[in-house]
């Protein structure tokens, strides 16, 4: 399952998308993030519990702000750290 954490509002769109099928809960993206946006957590997927990376509750609504300093329009540390390509970052300001 692909989970898109984040939002689109008047100012742009900001998402961290994690593929829970590919993610093995290794935690490398968590370590790579300088802002503590990510964490590993046990989730119930198809009636089974699995350890996967997620965006922390605190940062889910602040991805625009929390991730801004990393300039995620390029390839931010979390994406570079993942060997299974389980994480994608979208960060787009509208207009200018």
């Amino acid at each position: 399952m692909i989970i898109h954490y984040g939002y689109k509002d008047g100012s742009g769109e900001y998402f961290i998308s994690i593929d829970t099928d590919e993610c093995d809960g290794c935690g490398k993206c968590v370590e790579a993030c300088p802002q503590g946006v990510l964490e590993t957590r046990t989730m119930m997927i198809d009636l089974e519990d699995k350890l996967v990376a997620t965006v922390t509750e605190e940062h889910r609504k602040k991805i625009k702000y929390s991730c801004a300093p990393c300039k995620p329009e390029g390839r931010p540390p979390c994406v570079l750290a993942c060997e299974r390509r389980a994480i994608i970052h979208t960060w787009k300001l509208v207009g200018k």
Partner: protein
């Protein structure tokens, strides 16, 4: 007391002709949302009764109230229920739940139950969020997105305009369709700025139904943008309060070019999450009994 324009009325329902005393497995799903709390009772995996109540300041209280209302008049007691799953924003605060499961899974499972295995895309809009879900023929989630950061594209966004125009939520949809010519959608995504825009339109002499049409059109676009990220695949279903707003539903169908599955008689679109939770409750109960 100020009239709350955007709150759907509270009520309960028992499916006629069903007898819970003959059931093997009785389960319940309690979906505590930011605005409304829903309790659903299922017997042997079939819908038996449900309630839709306002969420108050305390999640546990809201869960209790919803549950009490759901069993009201059925002769059932809380103890008769074999397994309860809590879901929704307040899921960890359902005091009598055996387990909490995220609403994503519950909504998909619920939609699968209501409409069947052809559902592949689901949009659920609650009071303070909007979810876009892709699922398979068994109601298992394959992709999911939730906006609960921005009021645009949430029930709360609709309330701001309904309040401004003093139009009760049940009338918003039909009123917005009373326009002869469809106006341009409101240009601001941000509800704060959209409200200023609406005020400006009213000053220019726009009648209420036109302002409403412009706003519903903008909201439909917001939803369509959200759905774009997960790609809409037929069949497409809508749950949550917004399903009852024909003004937004029709415009959304027009934008994405796909008609939503029609509402099923007897299934309030707001209880899909609770239904899914009650079905998971049955599966978990049976799983536990097997391994016991």
């Amino acid at each position: 007391m100020e009239k709350e324009y955007w709150r759907w009325p509270e009520y309960r329902r028992t499916v006629p002709g069903e007898d819970w005393t003959k059931a093997r497995v009785i389960t319940a799903g309690v979906d505590v949302g930011s605005v409304s709390s829903k309790a659903v009772i299922m017997i042997d995996g079939e819908l038996y009764a449900y309630s839709i109540m306002r969420t108050g300041s305390s999640s546990p209280d809201s869960a209790n109230k919803a549950m009490e209302r759901a069993i009201e008049g059925t002769g059932m007691k809380l103890d008769d229920i074999h397994y309860v799953v809590g879901t929704g924003y307040g899921r960890v605060n359902v005091p009598f739940a055996n387990r909490a499961i995220t609403e994503i899974a519950c909504h998909a499972r619920g939609a699968n139950y209501i409409w069947g295995p052809t559902v592949r895309t689901l949009m659920d809009m609650g009071g303070q969020d909007c979810k876009a879900i892709r699922c398979d023929e068994k109601g298992r989630v394959t992709a999911f997105l939730m906006n609960d950061k921005c009021a645009a594209g949430t029930g709360r966004g609709m309330e701001v305009i309904a309040d401004l125009l003093s139009i009760p939520i049940e009338d918003v949809g039909p009123t917005s369709l009373m326009v002869e010519k469809e106006p341009e959608p409101v240009s601001s995504t941000c509800v704060v700025f959209a409200k200023s825009e609406a005020v400006g339109l009213l000053r220019k002499g726009w009648p209420k139904e036109m302002v409403l049409a412009a706003f519903c059109s903008a909201m439909a676009r917001r939803i369509a943008e959200l759905l774009e990220r997960i790609k809409v695949e037929k069949d497409f279903a809508i749950t949550g309060g917004i399903a009852k707003n024909i003004g937004v539903v029709r415009r959304l169908e027009e934008i994405i070019g796909i008609k939503a599955l029609p509402r099923k008689e007897g299934f309030d679109p707001m209880v899909a999450g609770g239904i899914g939770a009650a079905l998971f409750a049955k599966a978990l109960y049976e799983k536990e009994r097997q391994s016991a």
